[in-house]
């Protein structure tokens, strides 16, 4: 049986800022759940509350029905990577894992095992402060895996990684979820999450915007671009079929939302409308995300 993370009305207020505002959702086992939102949306604060580091102003975050602080030997239940630079720079890589293992009575053999899993065996004797960002990230992930926990939380794990590192993290998260674990990963990049996650929890300004599957989220954002010499007739036909249509002013085309290109093409053929272009919009995923979180972006450059 997998272990669920449940947030119920989770709220954190710093002074006059509601960093996390009444967040309610559940994160399920056996899949990767992406935690998406612009910078400053409250993702890290939410994770810190799940991990018992910050005290919620109100509401609860529970793992398997218990708050983090109630877990005995918590590393056997939850593994987390918050910040890869959370190490003593002069302590060796192996010693860093050894003391963490000691807190939860995990064996020294397990330290060597996780070092091997993340490919750091060769640098186990090096000082943690000398590691590159990519290697620090691997060390942080090794620490999270020490207790072989059923629940894993990663805060922006691919930030600053090279393409190979990104692929490694992505593959690891997929395989951890494949083993039935609950994997909760935050990111501010939708493209990254649409590649890795099965479900998405989207927040902005601390509020829940969407909790849905990636397929549904992408479908919601799907749009089809159509050019035709009979644009007005096409618009009429589509609107009558109950399909939302936007004008694309610049190119004299229509942007059709919520319908696949097949549907649009068949409708056009049935009504004898000539089409000059019929294409799915790749960039629309980012657009939809931007649109969803637009009001929720707290800081932005004035253009």
């Amino acid at each position: 049986m997998g272990v669920m993370i449940e947030l119920a009305g989770l709220t954190k207020v710093f002074g006059s800022t509601r960093a996390v505002d009444g967040l309610t959702c559940s994160i399920e086992p056996g899949m990767v759940t992406g935690f998406l939102g612009p910078n400053g949306a409250g993702k890290t604060t939410t994770m810190r509350m799940i991990l018992g580091l910050d005290r919620p102003t109100s509401g609860t975050a529970t793992i398997d029905g218990k708050s983090y602080r109630e877990l005995a030997d918590p590393l056997r239940h939850v593994g987390a990577l918050l910040d890869a630079k959370q190490v003593h720079p002069n302590r060796s890589v192996r010693a860093h894992l050894q003391w963490i293992a000691a807190t939860n009575r995990l064996s020294a053999a397990r330290v060597d095992e996780v070092l091997d899993m993340v490919g750091l065996t060769a640098v186990a004797g090096n000082r943690a402060g000398t590691l590159s960002l990519g290697m620090s990230q691997r060390l942080g992930i090794a620490a999270s895996l020490l207790g072989d926990p059923p629940v894993l939380l990663f805060d922006e794990p691919v930030n600053g990684l090279d393409p190979e590192g990104i692929r490694w993290v992505r593959t690891l998260m997929r395989s951890l979820a494949g083993e039935g674990r609950t994997v909760f990963v935050s990111s501010h990049l939708l493209a990254e999450m649409s590649n890795t996650a099965d479900r998405l929890v989207v927040i902005g300004r601390g509020k829940l915007i969407a909790s849905t599957t990636v397929t549904e989220f992408v479908g919601r954002a799907d749009s089809v671009r159509v050019r035709s010499p009979q644009l007005d007739l096409l618009r009429q036909v589509l609107t009558e079929a109950g399909i939302a249509v936007d004008d694309d002013q610049a190119a004299l085309a229509l942007l059709v939302r919520g319908a696949a290109s097949e549907v649009v093409g068949e409708l056009a053929a049935k009504n004898g409308i000539t089409l000059h272009e019929l294409s799915s919009q790749q960039g629309s995923l980012e657009d939809a995300y931007m649109k969803l979180t637009d009001d929720a972006v707290q800081y932005r450059a004035v253009t």
């Binding site: 810190r48 991990l51 018992g52 580091l53 910050d54 005290r55 983090y68 602080r69 877990l71 005995a72 030997d73 918590p74 590393l75 939850v78 987390a80 918050l82 910040d83 630079k85 959370q86 190490v87 003593h88 720079p89 002069n90 302590r91 060796s92 010693a95 050894q98 003391w99 963490i100 000691a102 807190t103 939860n104 009575r105 620490a143």
Partner: protein, 239 residues
């Protein structure tokens, strides 16, 4: 939560950085150096008194051990490692107690060795077990106090400054102020600790409201109050 596991983890942490080694070297130089210099320049009959031989460890060595103890907390706040610690051991009281115990044991054992070594270097009376015990107890309590100060201040610079200025500058200054000195002096924590260990330093002799044992109890109470405040604060604040 496992008390033994938390202690073991803090022991590993302490001995897998270089700070204990550097501190040990610094304390040894201060303690044995001062013992040797005094032994060379002693006048009058007989060898140097043991209390004088132990001046280096008591006056300068213990503050170095206090700094080491406070760094076990402040270094973790600086690197963010304290979050890893609290994730592994969510019982923060247990974390701070484990740090205090490990720091106190290290400081106590090392102080005992240094007192004995100082006496040997100065060729004083080697049968001063009372002195060894007193300074050991003082070093242990001072380390617990330092862990508490580290947890309250979080910043290394602040903790180090406080732990050096308090015993070495502020208390001797207050104790020697005209008029006020005799009123404030008996209630200064470190002045009391020095009464208990019988090491003469910059403190003038006052009429203490309690005996030597009372003095160390007073120092222990101050330590307990600071440590209790640190426990309340770390349990309340967000890590």
């Amino acid at each position: 939560m496992g008390v033994a596991a938390a202690l073991n983890a803090e022991r590993i942490k302490l001995f897998t950085t270089r700070s204990p080694l550097w501190s040990a070297v610094a304390v040894a130089v201060l303690s044995l150096g001062l013992a040797a210099i005094q032994a060379e320049t002693v006048y009058g009959p007989g060898p140097l008194e043991p209390e004088k031989a132990a001046m280096g460890i008591a006056v300068f060595g213990v503050p170095v051990l206090m700094i080491l103890s406070s760094l076990t907390v402040t270094n973790e706040y600086r690197s963010g490692l304290i979050r890893t610690t609290f994730m592994a051991v969510p019982n923060r009281t247990l974390v701070l107690v484990a740090k205090a115990v490990v720091a106190a044991v290290f400081s106590g054992i090392y102080a005992a060795v240094m007192v004995a070594a100082s006496i040997a270097v100065a060729r004083s009376d080697p049968h001063e077990w009372g002195l060894v015990g007193a300074i050991t107890l003082y070093a242990m309590l001072a380390s617990v106090l330092a862990v508490g100060v580290g947890a309250l201040l979080r910043a290394s610079a602040g903790a180090v400054a406080l732990l050096l200025l308090w015993p070495l500058v502020v208390e001797p200054m207050l104790a020697n102020m005209p008029k006020m000195g005799t009123q404030v002096g008996p209630y200064l924590p470190f002045a009391n600790a020095f009464i208990f260990i019988r090491v003469q330093w910059l403190y003038p002799v006052y009429a203490m409201p309690w005996g030597a044992v009372g003095s160390i109890v007073y120092f222990a109470v101050v330590t307990a109050v600071v440590f209790a405040a640190a426990l309340v604060v770390i349990n309340r604040r967000d890590a």
